[in-house]
Symmetry: C2
Subunit: 191 residues, 2 copies
Amino acid sequence: MSSKGQQTQEKILSATLDLIERQGFHSTGLQQIIKASGAPKGSLYFHFPEGKDQIVSCALQQGSEFINAMINHAFTLADNPSQSVGWLFDGLARRLLDSNYEKGCPVATTALEAGDAHPQVRDACAQAYDLWQDSIARGLCQKGIPEEQAVYEAPLILSILEGALMMAKVRRSRQPLDQARDALLARFPSG
Amino acid sequence: MSSKGQQTQEKILSATLDLIERQGFHSTGLQQIIKASGAPKGSLYFHFPEGKDQIVSCALQQGSEFINAMINHAFTLADNPSQSVGWLFDGLARRLLDSNYEKGCPVATTALEAGDAHPQVRDACAQAYDLWQDSIARGLCQKGIPEEQAVYEAPLILSILEGALMMAKVRRSRQPLDQARDALLARFPSG
């Protein structure tokens, strides 16, 4: 693909991700994606011939990789698992506050909206959660947590993170994230 | 209000709750509510002159009271706090499975969708979470957990519950709920 084509594709995906994260899957239409991305209508159908579900699935993959990079960053750079978990929660809390409580989890709203009628979109959401869970488990192992415990803790951390992000967004307060972080920190060595 | 008027109002609210829980706030329109409830269009505007946001807010309140009854039931009838928490998670897991993974938390999808443009709806969601959190805290106290700990644990239990319900719905598996329940049970006396 030409570099101009790649640029157009990237503009479409980042505009889509921004829209679905702020307002959800159902209220984001193709016209709005065209307007927000500045891409001509024809290029939308050229790059994504299957339409909205394909665009949204690809955009969710971008959002998934963004959060995955945050997870890997937190586990690679921190000194211990407790610090990693703290950084992850704090990073997501900062992102939520900086976006005026619009940007919590980039996948969650669409994940709850997309039912049986949108299997491609639902699969993209499930894959994002799988990726993050695996990265958390691997990160805990890297930080010295025994594998069995890491595999047990990773889905719990992900559930708590998702629930606390949702509570924080609805309540317009980072408190639920801070409480969840502090409760989790007590489970891991910080020395 | 006449008993026929009350019946119509109840039909409208339960149809709305069912629709927003299955498909979310944005994709539920007034026409669909009219069709699903069987209520004449005029009665919709008679009972809810402010329109869709008012209907949805009232429907969310019904959903909120339903979940609150489940919480109070679990804390009133169980022998200990551990059993209460277990019953709550199991009850919600059963509800999710019985609805073919459509009905997790009746409030969550709308809570994530409704932003600044729908303050009445967002407030109804926040009020639901406040009510449940207070009921969990009071329930823990009733079961002998010291007040300070109960007030600390209640928002955590709610965050974990909401996150695990979302994961279970997206993954079409009750496993995230079971894992979250087991991790929580270890925090409370079961004797």
